[in-house]
């Protein structure tokens, strides 16, 4: 593993396996009374969040603290539209304080990649625009494997607004790295551009027929959040039409269970109950939503450990 985690494509299969195995040990630590390891004592981790996210930020903050690192949250100022420092100046100012890692979330795709060129610290991408969210993909894979076992050969469907989803981009990569078969389900206006050749190159299946996919009994169905703004942006006529065509309704939940009793349901959160996922599906026994949150801390402890604890590349 190199010293940044910018994209899920940075991780080989061995890297992912190692991160997930360590996450499992870290998950164990969460269950103890003393939820603390001394491992990253003396390291400083900055959570630099330009885009609000209580969930991801607190997950990284807890992960850092449970590893005994000094974690500090900094709220980054908006885009360059507000005439202030350039992004480069902002991050170099932080880097000049000799911090060990910068966990960055930003509204712009590619921001983490750009920042890694400008600083000495390790950079962890906590979500950049509509590009990637590598730790989310790791925790999704971890959560599914905790329930279903090895993902090698498993069939996973990712459903929703793929165009604007960084969760999709990272998951498509990590799931394929682990050997899963990935099917993408979205209406044409929410399929990313260039998806045809992309799907061919990366071995992804495309469809806009959610019912057919559910009837085939996939092992896991990953529902993505649909932002209501997309309706007004002309991507989709109405929320109602979206739910009827692509929502995990009560009827579809039943169809999924009938086709595969063991199938699990994931959602990166926050959920729009009633829009892309019905309350029944969100709260069903097969839903991994809360486990995903718990896994998030363990996975992020694992990532921080493997990037920061040692010197150089992993043995």
């Amino acid at each position: 593993m190199n010293r940044h985690l910018l994209s899920s494509a940075d991780l080989t299969r061995d890297d992912v396996r190692m991160l997930l195995a360590t996450a499992s040990e870290m998950h164990e630590v969460q269950r103890r009374d003393v939820k603390k390891l001394p491992t990253l004592r003396g390291r400083t981790v900055i959570n630099l969040f330009f885009e609000d996210s209580t969930r991801t930020r607190s997950s990284f903050e807890i992960a850092g603290k449970w590893m005994s690192a000094d974690t500090i949250n900094i709220t980054g100022k908006g885009s360059s539209a507000s005439k202030g420092e350039s992004l480069r100046d902002t991050v170099r100012t932080i880097d000049a304080m000799s911090v060990d890692a910068i966990v960055i979330r930003h509204m712009a795709s590619g921001a983490a990649h750009q920042v890694s060129q400008w600083v000495d610290a390790s950079v962890i991408n906590a979500g950049d625009g509509t590009h990637e969210h590598p730790t989310q993909a790791l925790l999704d894979a971890y959560t599914i494997e905790q329930r279903l076992g090895n993902l090698d050969g498993a069939r996973v469907a990712i459903v929703g607004d793929l165009t604007h989803s960084r969760v999709f981009r990272s998951n498509a990569i990590t799931l394929r790295t682990l050997g899963a078969h990935v099917t993408l389900v979205a209406p044409p206006t929410l399929m990313p551009s260039g998806i045809g050749p992309w799907a061919t190159t990366d071995g992804l299946t495309l469809t806009d027929d959610l019912d057919a996919v559910l009837a085939s009994g996939p092992d896991a169905v990953m529902m993505l959040r649909v932002q209501r703004e997309r309706m007004s942006g002309g991507y989709f006529p109405t929320a109602r039409e979206y739910t009827v065509g692509f929502g995990l309704t009560r009827e579809r939940l039943r169809a999924l269970s009938d086709a595969n009793l063991e199938a699990v349901i994931c959602h990166p959160g926050p959920m729009n109950r009633g829009l892309e996922i019905s309350a029944d599906a969100a709260d069903a026994a097969q839903s991994l939503v809360l486990e995903q949150v718990s896994a998030g801390v363990a996975v992020r402890m694992s990532v921080l450990y493997h990037l920061l604890a040692g010197e150089g590349v992993a043995a």
Binding site: A21, E25, R32
Partner: protein, 196 residues
């Protein structure tokens, strides 16, 4: 000082230029004696918990538990205590993946924990183990059983039960292979160093 061989993966080749210092039957006798000593010191098997330090300490802990069962007819809980995250040399080494920690269901509070490892050298591993243990509970007492003590302590740590004392020089390495973990007959060898 490195732990070069203690982390050798299962079945890792032995250095052919080394010499054997403990044969399989030596190891067997040593473990049997350690089991007796543990029981004698503890006046029986009550409240004992054996925690092996991965990798080979775990097999040794299980073997000791088996010997206690033979000798005393008692079942002693066995687990593993990984110390990777508590090492004091993390920053100067490439990052290692942690191994498994399993604490038996009864826990360690108010128990007599016997840490089990294959080789005792600088003592830093045991210091890390004590650290790890303190986050898991509060044993009544902690004891240390090792198959081999090769000297050169860097910390004030001593073993309570030793299979064999092996004076070595720093340039030598001690290689331990166990039947279960490595798939070959038990053996302890010394390799490298100046010719004797």
């Amino acid at each position: 000082m490195t732990r070069a061989d203690s982390t050798a993966p299962p079945g890792h080749p032995l250095d052919p230029s080394g010499r054997t210092v403990l044969t399989a039957s030596d190891v067997s006798r040593a473990l049997r004696r350690i089991a007796h000593e543990v029981l004698e010191h503890n006046k029986g098997a009550d409240d004992l918990v054996l925690l092996g330090i991965p990798s080979r300490g775990v097999e040794l802990a299980h073997r000791l538990a088996g010997l206690v069962r033979e000798v005393e007819g008692a079942e002693v809980p066995v687990g593993s205590l990984d110390i990777t995250m508590h090492r004091d040399d993390l920053r100067s080494q490439p990052t290692r993946a942690p191994m498994h920690t399993t604490i038996p269901p009864g826990g360690i509070d108010d128990r007599v924990v016997v840490l089990v490892d294959d080789v005792l050298y600088s003592g830093r591993t045991i210091r890390a183990a004590l650290d790890a243990l303190s986050d898991l509970g509060r044993p009544r007492a902690v004891r240390l059983a090792v198959l081999v003590d090769r000297g050169h302590r860097e910390l004030p740590i001593r073993a309570d039960h030793v299979g064999k004392n092996l004076p070595t020089s720093h340039s030598e390495k001690v290689q331990v292979r166990l039947a279960g973990f490595d798939g070959i007959d038990d053996v302890v060898r010394i390799a490298g160093g100046d010719a004797r």
